[in-house]
Amino acid sequence: MIKVVIYVNKNQGIIGVLVCLCLLSLALTGSGGEATPSSDTVTIVDYTGQSVEVPYPVDRVVSLSSSASEIICALGASDKIIGRGSSSIFPPYIEDVPIVGKSSYTPSIELIIELDPDVLIADTMLTGDNREMIEAAGIPVIEESFVDPPRVTSVMSNLGLILDKEERARELISFIDQYQSIIEERTADSRSEDKPAVFLERGQPYRTASASTSSHNCITTAGGINIASGESVKYPTVSPEWVVEMNPEIIVRSVWATTGETFTREDLKEESDELLSRPGLSEVKAVKDGRVYVHSSKINSGVRSIVGELYFAKWFHPAVFEDIDPEAVHRDLVQEFYGLELEGVYVYP
């Protein structure tokens, strides 16, 4: 009991000191001097393992990564982004932010130094030389990877921490986690013979993805078997006849969207028709059973990748995920975290 009281007293003491300091600083401000920014900093460890010390809270951010921009906006800190890579196009209101390069690979060092942000966030395409140059100008650099869902979660909490949006970051993470655990729980007990064989096509005809790619992980998480997992090339183009022989139960075609505009149902139908008209594919089980799906790559990266995963899970196991409506989740996500109405079409049929 006594101990507790002492602690309370101590705490009160600390609060007292803080209040005094606040009053003092207010007094100083009032006396016409610039508000002395608190010398507070926080240190986080980025994907490359480097400890990065950034001012706390960060006020001015340059984001060269489209995924990072999406996260920052979802955290409600879009007003803190003062420069972006031109590939950052979601949410649409980010397009008002000045461009400081195309991607992490081609940043404009001069523009970045001129903006003098508190921190620069890039993805792993940032070259070592560029990182050194930006750091030499006194700008802390956080280099992150946005491929692996657990890593993305820790990026979200890191960004929440430095932007002083920790509460919001927790909300975002739990929004994503609840659906991720639904997928995990429900696919965990499906036996391997219940898992459909999936052929995933990325952009170019017959270009697919082998193990250790995010596409492969997405198929596996959603309870499917990637027929190309054993290939030695990361994104191989495979023989059509091999696909016919493997006879996948499901074909998923990712259509790449590099611009801000969204697809119409017509666009995605055309993609689907093109695939269905290819010689030989008419004999494949997926085509015979009508299990060919086309989707926009926008639901496969950044904050929205959970939407893509839900679609995959539902396509692979329609009975198990009957109660899940990925489109509704998508709508909730953009409404809750971006204040936007869902526009455009992302999947076909």
Partner: protein, 355 residues
């Protein structure tokens, strides 16, 4: 040395002609043999019997063949094999004619800027024309064809301004090639990463787009233009002795030149519009032929075409099967197979094949 061997010119000529005819037939036989062999090769595990059975079942009421075998062999392998053959023929023929008409060993559809032009047209279609892949298939083909011909027209037009000298024409071609490459680089730089992949894919070339409906159009076109070009063999033979000689023999050098160049350009453009850039074959097939049978265009043109078909078919079959089911871009394999062979011929043959 016996007298008749030296003096009986007719017999020497007849023997040489017969040899060359035999060589042409052997080449034709090899192309057919490799084509038959290639029908049985592929990522799908089909036995030789099944593969042939699938082809035979189309024509003869033989035993039942699985739908799978029929689909793989008839819909996937055969169009691709035919595509390899006609692409090889057109590149080989166009290379032989261009080298002959311009009397320069470094000329090919590639050096004259035709390929860069086609690539530029394709890149424009990929980056600016359509945002969604797949739907732009024919837009890319049409753009590539048009730009390729446009390049030829520009190059020829420029050389006409300077009195049609061969050197100007080749240099103009090389210069246009650089200009188009710059445009492609610019488009690559501004494009998104999936568009970039598609451009790179197009620049590497490949026969993966082969479909019956394309092959059916291309076969008669390629054969027709090849025949047409072969009619100019004698003119080309005369021109290889020099423009003055050819003129004194009554040949309208400029006319023959523009006709041959235009026909070769159409021939090249129509295939590379579908396949993307396949380099090397147009340059090297004619040289291989010259090393083996000399430079009589009556034989050189068809043989160069057949060599091109053979090299491309062997390379494409290798690229389909080496690390199957993953396919390697054919341009890589063509160079790996063709260059050592060419270098071997270059150092082992004593004959001066050029001039």
């Amino acid at each position: 040395m016996s007298d008749d061997e030296v003096f009986d010119a007719e017999e020497v000529y007849a023997r040489a002609s017969w040899k060359k005819t035999l060589f042409t037939l052997v080449l034709l036989g090899s192309v057919l043999a490799v084509a038959v062999f290639a029908t049985t090769m592929g990522a799908a595990s089909l036995g030789m019997g099944e593969s042939f059975g699938a082809v035979l079942a189309e024509f003869l009421p033989v035993e039942e063949v699985s739908t799978f075998a029929q689909v793989v062999v008839l819909q996937l392998r055969l169009p691709r094999i035919l595509m390899a053959i006609i692409t090889g023929i057109s590149l080989g023929v166009a290379g032989a004619v261009m080298q002959g008409v311009l009397r320069n060993p470094l000329v090919s559809p590639y050096t004259l800027g035709l390929s860069s032009g086609a690539a530029c047209g394709a890149a424009i279609a990929i980056v600016l024309g359509v945002g969604v892949f797949g739907t732009g298939r024919y837009i890319i083909v049409i753009n590539a064809f048009f730009f390729s011909l446009l390049t030829m027209a520009i190059v020829y037009g420029i050389s006409r301004m300077r009195g049609t000298s061969v050197e100007t024409l080749i240099l103009a071609g090389v210069a246009m090639g650089y200009l188009f490459s710059a445009v492609i680089s610019l488009l690559k730089y501004v494009s998104g990463h999936e568009e970039l992949r598609e451009i790179v894919f197009w620049l590497m070339g490949g026969l993966y787009t082969a479909r019956w409906e394309n092959v059916i159009i291309l076969i008669p076109a390629v054969l027709f233009f090849t025949m047409l070009l072969m009619r100019y063999s004698w003119d080309l033979n005369a021109m290889s002795a020099g423009e003055e000689v050819a003129s004194s023999l009554g040949i309208n050098v400029n006319r023959v030149r523009i006709i041959c160049l235009s026909l070769s350009a159409v021939l090249t453009a129509s295939v590379i519009a579908f396949t993307g850039i396949i380099g090397f074959i147009g340059l090297v097939s004619p040289h291989v032929c010259r090393l083996l049978i000399g430079s009589d265009h009556r034989y050189l043109i068809p043989c160069s075409g057949l060599i091109g078909a053979l090299v491309l078919l062997v390379s494409d079959t290798a690229c389909r099967t080496m690390i199957s089911p993953t396919e390697i871009p054919v341009g890589i394999v063509t160079s790996f197979i063709g260059v050592p062979f060419f270098l071997y011929l270059l150092v082992s043959r004593k004959r001066r094949w050029w001039q």
